[in-house]
């Protein structure tokens, strides 16, 4: 039968399921914002053939007032809307904050933080990062007698029971577990917004809160090098300084290659992986009896990837250098928990990077992809929050490559997304996804001018300013 022949072909092309992220502030308080726009948007996405949408659910919104008091009502409304629209839902549980739009941590957590600033990550200057809790307190009873892990677990359990009617049907695609700053498995090594026109710095190690320092000290003592446990590397540059500003990241003979460097970086990265392991195994066990996949997001720290020491990756907690395949440990941890990995930055291509930053998103992506494939971890993609020129083209390229084999979540719905400057491009993108070059080449070119969408020309300098995730 004809459809049989097509079956395989379509399968091959459609293997990537496409999602779009809902606005970060789609729910505030207990209600849905811009209900009508969301509703029209969902219909449009459905007609366009998207598999579903991603819904960020914020700790700071649901458990806003006091510990254990959850308000899911707005999110339930959204889930219902999504179900009615015939779309699937991919939920992201966000235990972090958003700066634009502003979504803080729960009020009661911030209250605790006022007196105990050591529940937050701190940099060398002692400045706390209030975007999420420090991984060092994961198992310390710092939140009204409970550990953050317990609080996260209660949150997940409450989510599971509240959304039981959706889990397995509307929410079949997955639940993404927030793992750190911006939901990503990393240290907040870069603070503030990265500007696209300036060379990003190396970032800073974040091992200076009391509890991290304590862990470091213990570890150093256990290794028989107590002097190494007194603090982070003294010769690492500050946030916005270039890697070359100091000697730690020096390409040749930098401290990173020294035994101390290896000691510190091993510890620093293993803490991060252990944190990820804790959260993902928590999620896996909570949702073990539900037919959902658990996802975790790993950042694409692509600046300075062209150096030997990969400073941005090191400060973010990935001990990945020219001589060490650091992502294998990460992939192994995901595989252990049967979780899938989300990689953002699929829209970034090498040619639009600032030359000075020695950045290479494409090769980093390939590197992580290789590690994941080695451990059989499925990869879901996202575009970066800052946007990129020719981003859709790059996304398509990635979707046809091995770097992406599960789904793609386009970030994110909103005014920019539906704007006449952007939406037709997106429609074009979706339509072209299933149309290999081979076919488009066969079509008479004049047909291309018949519809609104067909006639859109991709602007080479298009830059999508998406809200931050």
């Amino acid at each position: 039968m004809l459809s049989r022949l097509f079956g395989c072909f379509i399968l091959q092309l459609n293997r990537i399921r496409l999602f779009a992220g809902l606005p970060l502030d789609v729910v505030s308080g207990g209600s849905v914002n811009q209900f009508r726009a969301i509703s029209a948007g969902l219909k449009a996405l459905k007609l366009l053939g998207l598999e579903g949408v991603e819904l960020p659910i914020w700790w700071g919104v649901v458990e806003h007032e006091s510990m254990g008091k959850y308000n899911w009502s707005g999110y339930l409304t959204i889930a219902e809307m999504v179900r009615k629209a015939g779309l699937k839902l991919n939920v992201t549980l966000c235990f972090h904050t958003s700066s634009q739009p502003k979504i803080p941590l729960p009020e009661w957590v911030l209250d605790i933080g006022k007196t105990k600033s050591n529940i937050f990550f701190k940099d060398r200057a002692g400045k706390p990062y209030r975007g999420c809790l420090s991984l060092a307190v994961d198992e310390l009873a710092v939140l009204n007698g409970k550990t953050p892990m317990e609080v996260y677990q209660d949150f997940c359990e409450s989510f599971k029971s509240t959304f039981s009617a959706f889990i397995g049907s509307t929410i079949t695609v997955g639940i993404t577990m927030g793992l750190g700053p911006d939901g990503e498995l990393r240290y907040p090594s870069h603070r503030g917004f990265a500007k696209s026109d300036t060379v990003p710095g190396a970032g800073e190690f974040q091992c200076y809160d009391k509890n991290m320092l304590h862990l470091l000290k213990q570890h150093a003592e256990a290794c028989g090098k107590p002097k190494w446990g007194l603090g982070g590397p003294h010769n690492a540059p500050a946030y916005s300084e270039l890697p070359t500003a100091n000697t730690f990241f020096k390409d040749h003979g930098g401290s990173w290659e020294s035994p101390y460097g290896d000691f510190f970086l091993s510890w620093y990265s293993s803490q991060l992986i252990a944190h990820g392991d804790r959260l993902l195994s928590l999620a896996s066990s909570v949702f073990s009896d539900s037919a959902v996949n658990i996802f975790g997001k790993v950042p694409l720290m692509h600046s300075w990837h062209g150096t030997r020491s990969h400073p941005s990756e090191l400060t973010a907690g990935f001990y990945n250098t020219a001589t060490r395949k650091g992502y294998e440990e990460v992939a192994e941890m995901f595989a252990r928990n049967s979780c899938k990995i989300i990689l953002p930055g699929m829209d970034q291509s090498d040619k639009y990077q600032l030359k000075e930053s020695l950045s290479s998103p494409e090769s980093l992506l390939a590197e992580i992809g290789t590690a994941c494939n080695k451990y059989g971890v499925r990869i879901s993609g996202q575009n970066s929050t800052v946007g990129a020129p020719d981003g859709l083209k790059q996304i398509k390229k990635n979707m046809l490559s091995e770097n992406l084999n599960d789904s793609f979540i386009f970030q994110r719905i909103g005014a920019q997304f539906f704007a006449p400057e952007h939406f037709p491009l997106f429609v074009e993108f979706v339509r072209k996804l299933n149309q290999p070059e081979l076919h488009s080449g066969n079509l008479p070119t004049k047909e291309g001018n018949t519809t609104a969408i067909d006639s859109v020309h991709t602007r080479s300098n298009l830059s999508i300013h998406m809200q931050s995730a």
């Binding site: 049989r4 719905i413 339509r431 609104a452």
Partner: protein
């Protein structure tokens, strides 16, 4: 062979354009047309299709269907894991009779013509008369007394009268026309129209003609054929078959959504329907039903009765219902399939393991009457059920299967499929959530709508993958796809406007608001970027200097700096009239406006200042170079040396040998027959040449009332313009000289045309202009809101395709056919330049004392990013004031009345005010824009004005 053709024109008068198509849909109306078939049926040969929509509502629509459901319910609804009803459609030939009878009415004084048809359908007799002494084939309106009740006059030459069943039990729909033989009527002409399908039943390409008098000159011819009923005589029956599958196909796709914008065009595209007559006729000369008696040249009518068999292919709605339940004893899954399709139905089926839906043969046991087909599928003959005319089968399957796939085979050539794909019934997953499906009505409905959209999505996917093997299928799918894309576009625009309005203003954005943004994204020929502002770059006098191109070139940068993005140039071809609207040699571009080289130079300068250029192309008519043998001008010369086949047949002045016009006729020149392939090919080439040679970016299409919009679509697709707008100008509705408030029928005609072009072109919003006339001139500002609180013109229904204007070279300038009320121009511009749609400004107004105000309005429009799809909220439409807020950013009022925008969260700044001194001190127009920044100076000024 007698050839009978059905004319095109699938104009469906019931079709109303709705600006926002819903995703949930109405029940398919075609379900009605198949019930109670008393007539012999034979199965259509090739085309069946599946209606993608499934809802339980449909099921409730008729008793037999309820029974189908009921059957499942017997097995305790708790067991049912999945239940679905697939309405399916088949084409069935329905044979019926069609008769014409002429006899004396009861009083033996008057005569009566009866036309009847036994086929189900909504039959309309479209008829007219000819009077003694008339020549040619034009019809006239019959006298009032002759028109049966329920008749509707169509233009000035025809009447439409519905055929009715006299009583419920009647087989025939009939219409009776009484007439007095002493009248001056020479003949009654008619064609039969089926409103349901839009098909026209004609008589060998002509109308049926019943002569009521004989002509002397006919006498000689008729001798020997005394009773000239060649066509109708005795046993010879012609069989009229409508080959309307293609059009039908479109109908199916249309059913799911409410009429969306693109698909009517699609419908019409296929409406050049052929009607073949299978029977041969003894007398092929006759094209009229003539009751002739040579001896009696006076009106000695003789009654007659003739009957024809007529075959219509109708779409028949049937249902296939599927229920999946789990056997509590064996743990196996049982698929129960039933249908009310009559006759032997074979289910060609298999199972699949995953989403790839690859067919496999499951393990035995199989239902009775099952055979294996080429190791790929199973074939099971459905067994008739004890009750009703239904058949069904039970399939017992192992639990691990993912889905059940099937298609239905009705006979060797007839397959019923799920659109182009297999029917699919999910098996897996159902068991994990027992009871979820079919639990409640609402659940079922949602599932239904979901599977509907899934169907559409699959459709898009198939399309996008470019996998359809047949080109025709591709075309059809493309139509569907485009209408979906349009719907997506609308939804996105809606979402965008709401999202955007709620963006909190941050300082950076305020800065950007002051810049004029011109998105460089091309969207479509119907809208340009959506942010276009059009300048009509000439008036009725422009040809007089003979160097208009050069004069305009001087002004290019000035016009561009006012904010215009598109300029419309005068018709460039050689023309019999100096203004250019009577084109002769299309390839000769030396005109009264200048030479071809000057034109190129002008276009180049306009491009240099960033404007797009529209060429004014006259496609409706063309002046001939030579006379034919009768001395009629209908032979063309020049590069396009067409003969009289290129001229429409129904304008007697020009004796064209083409087909009838697909639109209204322009009587001053031969109207081009666009149904001719060679004509279209030549015109496409010409448009391509204009694009290439001159550099035109798009078109202003003259007199598009004259031919079918589907041809325009063809031309636009071939020439790929950046922007195109058509002039569809006809009269608004008036009652006793006063304009009606409701101009829906007027704008419907324009929207219909845009629809026929499939949205590839916009149209001038004549409706809005007309309503503005009355509203401003008579101080009746309430006219500016329709019953639904939307703008009353085309702009209220299809803003993105409405090109709003208040004046052009015909209505104003030195012709003044329909001049905008004097002194009210700025109110008119305040309206169109703040509202959605694409506004067009007339040259005379730009270069007048209005110039600076127009420039301010354009700048407000650009600064606030108002575009052709902006949202307009009418706040006041009262006797003396109209006020609206556009995109929640710009507030405007016109009229002497008072209006103040809500103070609330927005701070309004004054952009422009105008004063009409006759109306006292209150400004006649005020335009404000929302600003997040407090600008005390403006605010104070504004408050001062209002007080």
């Amino acid at each position: 062979m007698a050839a009978v053709t059905i004319d095109s024109l699938l104009q469906n008068p019931t079709l109303l354009f709705r600006p926002k198509a819903k995703v949930l849909l109405k029940p398919p109306r075609s379900l009605d047309c198949s019930r109670n078939r008393k007539l012999p049926l034979s199965r259509g040969s090739c085309l069946c299709s599946f209606n993608p929509r499934r809802t339980i509502h449909v099921v409730r629509a008729s008793s037999s269907e309820t029974a189908l459901i009921g059957n499942f319910d017997i097995s305790s609804s708790d067991d049912i894991l999945y239940k679905d009803i697939f309405p399916v459609k088949r084409i069935e030939k329905v044979e019926g009779k069609f008769f014409i009878r002429l006899d004396r009415s009861k009083d033996q004084h008057d005569w009566q013509l009866t036309v009847g048809c036994s086929l189900p359908g909504k039959w309309i007799l479209h008829w007219g008369v000819s009077y003694l002494g008339d020549s040619g084939s034009e019809w006239d309106q019959p006298p009032k007394g002759m028109r049966p009740p329920g008749s509707i006059p169509i233009k000035d030459y025809a009447i439409e009268t519905p055929l009715k069943k006299l009583s419920e039990g009647d087989i025939f729909h009939e219409v009776k026309i009484d007439f007095n033989p002493i009248s001056e009527i020479a003949a009654i002409h008619f064609v039969l129209k089926d409103e349901e399908t839009g098909a026209w039943y004609q008589h060998r390409g002509m109308d049926f003609k019943v002569p009521l008098v004989d002509y002397l000159e006919d006498d000689g011819n008729i001798v020997g054929a005394k009773r000239g009923f060649g066509v109708w005589s005795g046993a010879v029956t012609g069989q009229y078959r409508i080959m309307s599958q293609v059009a039908y196909f479109q109908v199916i796709y249309r059913i799911p959504s409410e009429p969306t914008l693109g698909d009517v065009g699609a419908l019409q595209q296929f409406s050049n329907v052929l009607l073949k007559s299978e029977a041969s006729h003894a007398d092929s000369q006759n094209n009229s039903i003539e009751s002739k008696d040579s001896k009696n040249k006076n009106r000695c009518l003789e009654g007659f009765y003739e009957e024809q068999s007529i075959v219509k292919e109708v779409s028949v709605g049937n249902l296939v219902s599927v229920a999946v339940r789990k056997s509590p004893e064996t743990g196996k899954v049982i698929v129960c399939l039933e249908t009310d399709i009559p006759g032997d139905v074979v289910v060609h089926w298999g199972v699949c393991r995953d989403d790839a839906k690859i067919w496999e043969i499951p393990a035995a046991p199989y239902p009775p009457e099952t055979t294996v087909f080429k190791n790929k599928a199973l074939r099971t003959l459905l067994q008739p059920k004890a009750t009703g005319n239904r058949s069904g089968a039970l399939f017992t399957l192992d639990e691990e299967h993912f889905g059940f796939l099937f298609v239905l085979k009705l006979d060797d050539n007839t397959w019923l499929k799920f659109k182009e794909d297999d029917f699919y019934v999910p098996l897996l997953g159902t068991s994990s959530v027992p009871g979820q499906y079919g639990q409640s009505d609402s659940t079922s409905e949602e599932i239904s709508s979901k599977s509907y959209t899934d169907g559409i999505i699959n459709e898009i996917r198939n399309l996008v993958s470019g996998l359809s093997s047949e080109k025709t299928q591709k075309t059809k799918k493309k139509e569907v796809q485009e209408s979906i894309l349009q719907e997506i576009e609308q939804l996105a625009a809606e979402a965008y406007s709401i999202f955007r309005s709620s963006i909190t203003t941050v300082p950076e954005e305020v800065v950007s608001e002051t810049e004029t943004t011109k998105p460089a994204v091309k969207i479509s020929s119907g809208t340009g970027t959506g942010f276009e502002i059009l300048c009509q770059g000439f008036n009725w006098e422009s040809h007089k200097s003979r160097r208009w191109y050069m004069e305009l070139k001087e002004k290019a940068s000035e016009i561009s700096s006012l904010g215009f993005t598109v300029i419309w140039l005068p018709p460039p071809t050689e023309s019999v009239s100096p203004e250019g609207y009577m084109p002769k040699d299309l390839y000769n571009l030396n005109s009264r406006y200048g030479t071809i080289d000057e034109l190129k130079e002008l276009v180049k300068s306009l491009h240099e200042v960033g404007m797009k250029v529209l060429g004014d192309v006259v496609l409706n008519h063309r002046c001939a170079h030579f006379k034919n043998q009768n001395g009629v001008w209908n032979i063309f010369g020049g590069r396009l040396n067409w003969d009289d086949r290129a001229v429409v047949a129904d304008d007697p002045h020009f004796q064209g040998r083409g087909n009838k016009s697909s639109g209204d006729n322009f009587h001053a020149a031969p109207n081009i027959d666009h149904s001719q392939e060679f004509v279209r090919k030549d015109l496409k080439e010409w448009l391509g040449w204009l694009r290439e040679e001159i550099g035109y970016d798009g078109w202003r299409l003259d007199f598009v009332r004259g031919f079918w919009g589907g041809y325009v679509k063809d031309y636009l697709e071939a020439s790929g313009p950046y922007f195109a707008v058509g002039e569809y100008w006809d009269s608004l509705s008036y009652t006793y000289g006063e304009m009606d408030h409701n101009q829906d029928s007027h704008r419907q005609r324009i929207v219909d045309w845009i629809n026929a072009t499939n949205g590839t072109a916009g149209a001038f919003d004549v409706t809005t202009k007309g309503i503005l006339h009355s509203a401003l001139e008579r101080c009746e500002y309430w006219r500016l809101s329709d019953q639904k609180g939307k703008p009353p013109g085309v702009v209220g229904w299809w803003p993105s395709r409405a090109v709003t204007f208040i004046e052009n070279h015909d209505t104003g300038s030195t012709q003044g056919h329909w001049r905008f009320p004097g002194g009210k121009e700025m109110q008119g511009y305040a309206y169109i330049l703040t509202h959605p749609g694409t506004p067009a400004v007339f040259y005379d107004h730009i270069f007048s004392h209005h110039r600076s105000e127009i420039a301010s309005l354009i700048s407000v429009r650009n600064r606030n990013g108002i575009h052709c799809r902006s949202l307009v909220k009418i706040v006041k439409a009262e006797r003396d004031v109209y006020a609206a807020i556009i995109d929640e950013k710009v507030a405007m009022k016109i009229g002497p009345g008072y209006y103040e925008p809500p103070s609330g969260s927005q701070i309004w700044s004054l952009a422009l005010e105008g004063r009409d001194y006759k109306e006292g001190c209150r400004p006649s127009l005020i335009i404000l824009f929302a600003s997040a920044i407090v600008v005390p100076f403006f605010t104070q000024k504004y408050i001062g004005v209002i007080d």
